[in-house]
Amino acid sequence: MIPIVEAANLSKWYGQVIGINDITIAIAPGITGLLGPNGAGKSTLLKLMVGILRPSKGEIKIMGDHVWNNIEISKIIGYCPDLDAFYENMTGYNFVLNMALLSGFAKDESETLTMQTIERVDMLEQKDKKIVSYSKGMRQRIKLAQAIIHDPKILFLDEPLSGMDPIGRHDTIKLIKELGLKGKSVIVSSHILHEIEAMTDNILLINNGRILAEGNVHEIRELIDTHPHNVYIICDKPRHLASILMEFDDISGVKINLDDKSLIIETLKPDEFYSRLPKILAENDISVENLQSPDDNLQAVFRYLVG
């Protein structure tokens, strides 16, 4: 399968600041989540993908073609920037219509497409109001509309759910999934895990301009094994339990909390730890009040990898 995006040794510097650092990736068709904290390089990577930034080093291709100043690529991509920037005095309708015309459609066709797309993002009622009067959520919706107006094959969405209310988030996630089902490829960025998780299993983790991990959620979860995994236990004999656990090689650290009732265990092999623990507790007559693994979710994977 031909990757929709290929980057080889891709780097982007902003003067002395590194935006993207030696990234080599191949993104397959479908919906892909680009996940990373603020300042991780998500927006820079997307800007390189849509050709509004030029690589400082390395190369990036969309469907096998270079992106910079390539209008053939512009025809097949849609981009929803994270910037809250608009032609403020235009109505939402005129903004989307102009974007349709800029995409090369004739006037009649553009008008039809504009109405259909505005309806798709549920902005029909507000279409004739000036963008300056829109709420953040409405601005996000109309920004999304301009990105999909020309029915692009590949869609790049930079934090599309930012500022949206719960209904807007739900609708947008639904729309993105629908686009995926229709065979469109979507690369969507966010710094919030559950947003990405709601859209796709395919994730790219990015931090400090580097791709930390890629694959589906489950593969990324397996990466936990290569990083310390924390377990929080409240029990009646925390010091005794700590002394027993320290004898095992996979335990990389034990910390007894100041309350002297709880401890945090750091293990490199969580599966082995969990299978061993009941036996240890039973043999040593340790009563456990609470056991939590704050790492047992996707959030933890992310924290581990970026941490």
Binding site: I52, L53, I71, E72, S74, A85, Y87, L101, L102, G104
Partner: protein
């Protein structure tokens, strides 16, 4: 698919930005000031005032050396810079259109906007003064002269517009650099003796300005008799326009505007 339609959108967006801009109100006030001067002149019965043809020539030089430059500076520098500052350039540059044509169509829009702002007050001023009973020229002679002056003013907008469009495309603070160029370099260089003045656009505009004796005295005062020929002046003004417009187009093609965001 309709290619020209895309560029018409650029033209329309830019034209609306020019017309609806707050600075347009300021520009209209400034460009209509000579009209009020002309009205005052026309209604004044003071016989000590200068002759109408002299008054008209001085006002037209004011249009040429101040107002046309001011209008070009305000709108030319903003053509690309506003899109960059407002970060709306992203919407345009991710569409399947040629970046250099974007500049060209924006420039066309700038020309129309500038003409709308500058030409009506020029025409009104001309009509007010040239129909004064004290005018020694007949209306036909005055009209021919005015048409030439208007043509040079249009060339001024073209040349300075191209220069300031380049500033707006290339520089981070185009207005400051533009102000220094327009009212620093372009004015100071005219009073420096020798051929240095030939490195200014204003020199060629003045050299090609109509050679009516009353106007010539004013021009001689500024240019100190170091005129270039009409043909050379027009050629150089055209060359400046083409070169700076091409530089602006190349800048738009090659520059990473998102880098500054």
């Amino acid at each position: 698919m309709n290619g020209i339609q895309s560029y018409k959108v650029i033209f329309n967006i830019t034209f609306n930005q020019i017309i609806r801009s707050k600075k347009t109100i300021l520009m209209l006030i400034v460009t209509f000031l000579p009209v009020f001067v002309a009205i005052y002149y026309r209604t004044s019965a003071n016989t000590d005032m200068i002759m109408p043809e002299q008054a008209l020539s001085q006002i037209m030089i004011f249009f040429l050396l101040f107002l046309s430059i001011l209008v070009s500076l305000f709108y030319g520098t903003a053509l690309m810079a506003d899109e960059i500052d407002n970060r709306t350039i992203t919407y345009i540059f991710t569409r399947p259109i040629r970046k250099y044509y974007v500049v060209l169509w924006k420039f066309l829009s700038f020309l129309l906007g500038s003409f709308i702002i500058l030409i009506p007050p020029m025409v009104l001023t001309f009509l007010l003064v040239s129909t004064d009973s004290r005018m020694s020229f007949d209306f036909g002679t005055s009209l021919v002269l005015f048409t030439k002056q208007l043509g040079i003013a249009i060339l001024s907008i073209l040349a300075y517009g191209a220069i300031f469009t380049f500033f707006g495309s290339r520089l981070k603070h185009p207005m400051i650099i533009g102000l220094l160029f327009a009212f620093g370099w372009e004015k100071i260089i005219l009073i420096i003796p020798g051929i240095v003045r030939k490195f200014s656009v204003a020199h060629y505009l003045l050299s090609s300005f109509p050679k009516d004796p009353s106007i010539q005295r004013a021009i001689d005062h500024i240019s100190r008799g170091a005129d270039s020929s009409f043909a050379a002046s027009i050629s150089i003004i055209t060359l400046v326009t083409v070169v700076f417009l091409c530089l602006s187009m190349y800048t738009a093609y090659s520059k990473e505007y998102a880098f500054e965001q």
